[in-house]
C-alpha cells in the first residue's frame, strides 16, 4: 500500500447541517473527529434553506408530535417508514431547543418564545386545520443554522479538513467500513483516513438534472462512493420538483410570488392553472403545479423559441407591490432571466429541488443492506445522515421544513449512537492491503488519458438526458430510452479526459471525480423510475397514473452491479403508537 494513513475515532464526510450536528455529539464526548468538506463548512448547501424547521412546540396554537407525524406520513404518500417518522417528530422539539441553547437566533414572539410560521402541508388534528409549526430565522434559517453549528464545533475542537474530497470507502474482507480514501485539493495528495466510524453527510445530488436549484457542489459524492462499494441506494426515483425555477438557470422563485398574485401563462397567454386546479389555481401544491406546467410544455403550449418554458407574470401587481414585497425576486429575474418583472414575465420551468432517496439507514444512522433475507442488516462502521441518507422519513415526497429537521434529528442520533459504542476503547481494525488502490487507479487514468471527451461535455449531456427522460412526467418508452442513453453515457464517463494535469486546486480533476458519482446517481434514479409502475408522491407516471399499494407499497433498492433492483417492505408499524394505514392523499 502506497497511501499514507491518518487515524481518527470518527471521520465525517460533509460539513453541512447533518455532518456538523453529528460532529458536535462526537467531539463533546472527547472522540477524535475529522470532518472533511469540499468547501468551507459555512458554504455548504444547507445555507440555501429558507423556510424553517418543523417542530410541534405549540407556541402559536395547540400542537402535537402525533399530528406532525400524520402530516409527514401523508406527505410521504405512505412510503415513509413510520418508526423513523415517529422518532423524528417526537425528537423535533428537543433538537430545536438544543439549537436555541447553542445560540441559534430564532425569530421570537412578544413573550420570548420561538415564533412559528405557517407552512404548506402542516395541520392540527390530522388535517383538520393549518397549524404554525416552522421555526425560522427570517428567510435565512439555513445560514443561521450552519453558523450556529460551526461555532459550536469550533468550541468543541472538531478538526475540519477544508477543501478535501473523499474518493472511496475502505472496506475489509468482512465488509466492515474502515474509513475513506480522500484527496487534499491544495496539494493533490491522497490519504487513507482510517476511522472506527465513518459518517456520510454529503447532501443531495441535484446536479444530475439540467434544471436544478442545487449548488454546483451537490454531486452525490456519498452516494457514488456507496454504490461503488457494492451497497444499495434506496428510493432513488423520488425527486421533488419546485415549480418555479428560472428557465436555464435553476434559481428558485419562491412560492410567495404566487401568494402575492403572480400567475402562470402558456404561449397563448392562457392562465392554464384554472383548468388543472379550478379552486386553488396557481396556489395548488408543488407537485400539481409542476405537472400542469410540464403538460403544457409537452403539449406544445410552452413559450420561447423552443417552447420549453412557461411564464410567471407579475406586472399586473404594479411596480409598488413588486418593489416593496418582492424586491429580491425582481433582482433574481433581472440577473438570471434578463427580465424585469415590472415590465415582462419571468420564464420558469419545474426544477429539481430535493432528493428523497439515498443511502439506506436505520434510525441510528447506521447504513443497512439486505443479507440472507433480512433487509436491515447493519454495514459495520458506516453511517449516513441528512439528504444523502434514506431513513426513510420523506418517503415519496418531502413535507416542507422536514429537511432541516431530518438533518438535525438524525445527525444527532448517529452521533449519540456512535458515542454509546465507546469507540475510544476499541482498536483500529487492520486495513486491507489494497486500501486506496481503486481511487489511485481512477486518478492514474485521469492523469494518463491524453485524449477523450471533455468532462464538462459528458456531464452536460448527462444532465440534459436526465431532464428529458426522467423529468416531471414519466412513461415506459421515455424512461427505457433514457436508461439506454444513460448506460451509453456511463461508457463515455469512463473514457472522458482532462487537459489540466496539475495537482494544486485542479478543479477539472475534481469535476471528473464528481462525474463518477453523478453517473451512479443518475443510473440509480432512472432505472428505479422505469421499474416502478405506479404514480406516488414525486414519481408521476402518465402510463400508471394511480398509486398501487397492492404491488408498490415497498422501497426500491438499486445496486450498481448489473443495475440490479431489489425491494424491501415499508415499516408501517411506528415505535409506540397505532399505525396510520394508507389512504388517498388529498388536500
Amino acid at each position: 500500500m502506497t497511501v499514507p494513513v491518518r487515524q481518527f475515532d470518527a471521520v465525517i464526510v460533509g460539513a453541512g447541517g447533518a455532518g456538523m450536528r453529528a460532529a458536535i455529539e462526537l467531539a463533546e464526548a472527547g472522540l477524535s473527529v475529522a470532518v472533511l468538506s469540499k468547501v468551507f463548512p459555512t458554504r455548504s448547501h444547507t445555507v440555501a434553506a429558507q423556510g424553517g424547521i418543523g417542530a410541534s412546540l405549540g407556541n402559536m396554537s395547540d400542537d402535537n408530535w402525533l399530528w406532525h407525524m400524520y402530516d409527514t406520513i401523508k406527505g410521504s404518500d405512505w412510503l415513509g417508514d413510520q418508526d423513523a417518522i415517529e422518532y423524528m417528530c417526537r425528537m423535533a422539539p428537543q433538537v430545536v431547543y438544543e439549537l436555541e441553547h447553542f445560540g441559534m437566533p430564532f425569530d421570537r414572539n412578544a413573550d420570548g418564545t420561538i415564533y412559528q410560521r405557517p407552512f404548506g402541508g402542516h395541520s392540527a388534528n390530522f388535517g383538520e386545520r393549518p397549524v404554525q409549526r416552522a421555526c425560522a430565522a427570517a428567510d435565512r434559517t439555513g445560514h443561521a443554522l450552519l453558523h450556529t453549528l460551526y461555532q459550536r464545533n469550533v468550541r468543541e475542537r472538531t478538526q475540519f479538513f477544508v477543501e478535501w474530497m473523499a474518493l472511496d470507502l475502505v472496506r475489509d474482507a468482512e465488509g466492515a467500513v474502515l474509513g475513506v480514501v480522500a484527496m487534499e485539493m491544495e496539494t493533490g495528495d491522497v490519504y487513507v483516513l482510517q476511522a472506527k466510524a465513518t459518517i456520510f453527510a454529503t447532501g443531495g445530488a441535484g446536479r444530475i438534472f439540467a434544471a436544478s436549484t442545487n449548488a454546483f457542489i451537490n454531486t452525490g459524492d456519498g452516494l457514488g462512493m456507496t454504490a461503488r462499494a457494492g451497497l444499495p441506494l434506496e428510493d432513488m426515483e423520488f425527486w421533488q420538483f419546485h415549480p418555479t425555477g428560472v428557465a436555464g438557470a435553476g434559481v428558485l422563485i419562491t412560492e410567495g410570488v404566487r401568494g402575492e398574485g403572480g400567475i402562470l401563462l402558456n404561449c397563448n397567454g392562457e392562465r392554464f392553472m384554472e383548468r388543472y386546479a379550478p379552486n386553488l389555481k396557481d396556489l395548488a401544491s408543488r407537485d400539481i403545479v409542476s405537472r400542469s406546467m410540464d403538460q403544457e410544455i409537452k403539449e406544445g403550449r410552452g413559450c420561447g423559441p423552443h417552447k420549453d418554458y412557461v411564464l410567471l407574470k407579475l406586472d399586473h401587481l404594479g411596480p409598488d407591490v413588486i418593489m416593496k414585497r418582492l424586491p429580491s425576486i425582481r433582482e433574481i429575474a433581472i440577473k438570471f432571466a434578463n427580465a424585469d418583472p415590472i415590465k415582462e414575465p419571468i420564464p420558469v420551468v419545474p426544477t429539481i429541488h430535493y432528493m428523497m432517496g439515498g443511502i439506506p439507514t436505520n434510525i441510528h444512522g447506521q447504513v443497512v443492506a439486505p443479507r440472507h433475507g433480512d433487509p436491515g442488516v447493519v454495514v459495520e462502521g458506516l453511517y449516513a445522515v441528512g439528504e444523502c441518507a434514506c431513513v426513510s422519513v420523506h418517503g415519496a415526497n418531502r413535507l416542507g421544513t422536514n429537511s432541516l429537521l431530518d438533518l438535525l434529528v438524525f445527525g444527532r442520533a448517529a452521533g449519540d449512537f456512535i458515542v454509546s459504542r465507546n469507540l475510544a476503547a476499541l482498536a483500529h481494525k487492520a486495513l486491507p492491503p489494497d486500501a486506496g488502490d481503486a481511487s489511485l487507479a481512477r486518478l492514474a487514468r485521469l492523469d494518463a488519458a491524453t485524449s477523450g471527451e471533455r468532462v464538462a461535455d459528458v456531464g452536460n449531456e448527462l444532465r440534459r438526458t436526465m431532464q428529458s427522460h426522467c423529468g416531471v412526467f414519466r412513461n415506459e418508452a421515455l424512461l427505457a430510452e433514457g436508461v439506454a442513453k444513460v448506460m451509453e453515457l456511463e461508457d463515455r464517463v469512463a473514457r472522458s479526459a482532462i487537459d489540466d494535469k496539475s495537482r494544486t486546486f485542479n478543479t477539472a480533476r475534481v469535476e471528473a471525480l464528481e462525474l463518477d458519482n453523478l453517473i451512479e446517481v443518475a443510473k440509480a434514479t432512472i432505472v428505479s423510475a422505469l421499474a416502478r409502475h405506479e404514480s406516488r408522491g414525486a414519481q408521476a407516471r402518465s402510463d400508471y397514473p394511480n398509486r398501487d399499494d397492492v404491488h408498490w407499497l415497498k422501497h426500491t433498492l438499486w445496486y450498481r452491479e448489473g443495475n440490479r433492483l431489489d425491494y424491501k417492505p415499508v415499516h408501517l408499524t411506528p415505535l409506540s403508537v397505532e399505525s396510520f394505514p394508507p389512504k388517498a392523499r388529498t388536500y
Binding site: K38, V39, T42, R43, S44, H45, T46, V47, A48, R140, H143, L146, H147, E163, M185, E186, S212, T213, N214, A215, F216, I217, A249, G250, V251, L252, P327, S328, E331, I332, K335, F336, N338, D500, S502, T504, F505, N506, T507, V510
Partner: protein, 81 residues
C-alpha cells in the same frame, strides 16, 4: 499582469459556493474575465469569497453595498451579469 495559474485555480475552486445564485454569478464572471484579472482584482475577489453566501449575494444583487469603496466597485463589476 498575468496571474500565476495556481492562484487562479485556487480562486476558481473557491467560487464553488453554498448557493446556486453565487455559483452562477461567479462562474459567469470567471468565464468572462479570468484571463484579464489583475493582482488587485484577485485581492478583491479573495475578500468577497471570504464573505458568507448570503452577504455575498446581498452585494451581488444590490441589496447591500460594501463599506470599502474598492470592494463595492469590484462587486458591481462582478454583478454585471
Amino acid at each position: 499582469m498575468v496571474i500565476d495559474n495556481a492562484r487562479l485555480r485556487r480562486i476558481r475552486w473557491r467560487c464553488r459556493r453554498g448557493m446556486l445564485e453565487n455559483d452562477l454569478m461567479l462562474s459567469r464572471f470567471l468565464d468572462r474575465c479570468a484571463d484579464t484579472l489583475t493582482e488587485d482584482d484577485i485581492a478583491n475577489l479573495d475578500a468577497l469569497l471570504h464573505m458568507s453566501d448570503n452577504a455575498l449575494w446581498d452585494l451581488l444583487s444590490g441589496r447591500a453595498e460594501a463599506d470599502d469603496p474598492r470592494l463595492a466597485s469590484f462587486a458591481a463589476r462582478l454583478a454585471q451579469g
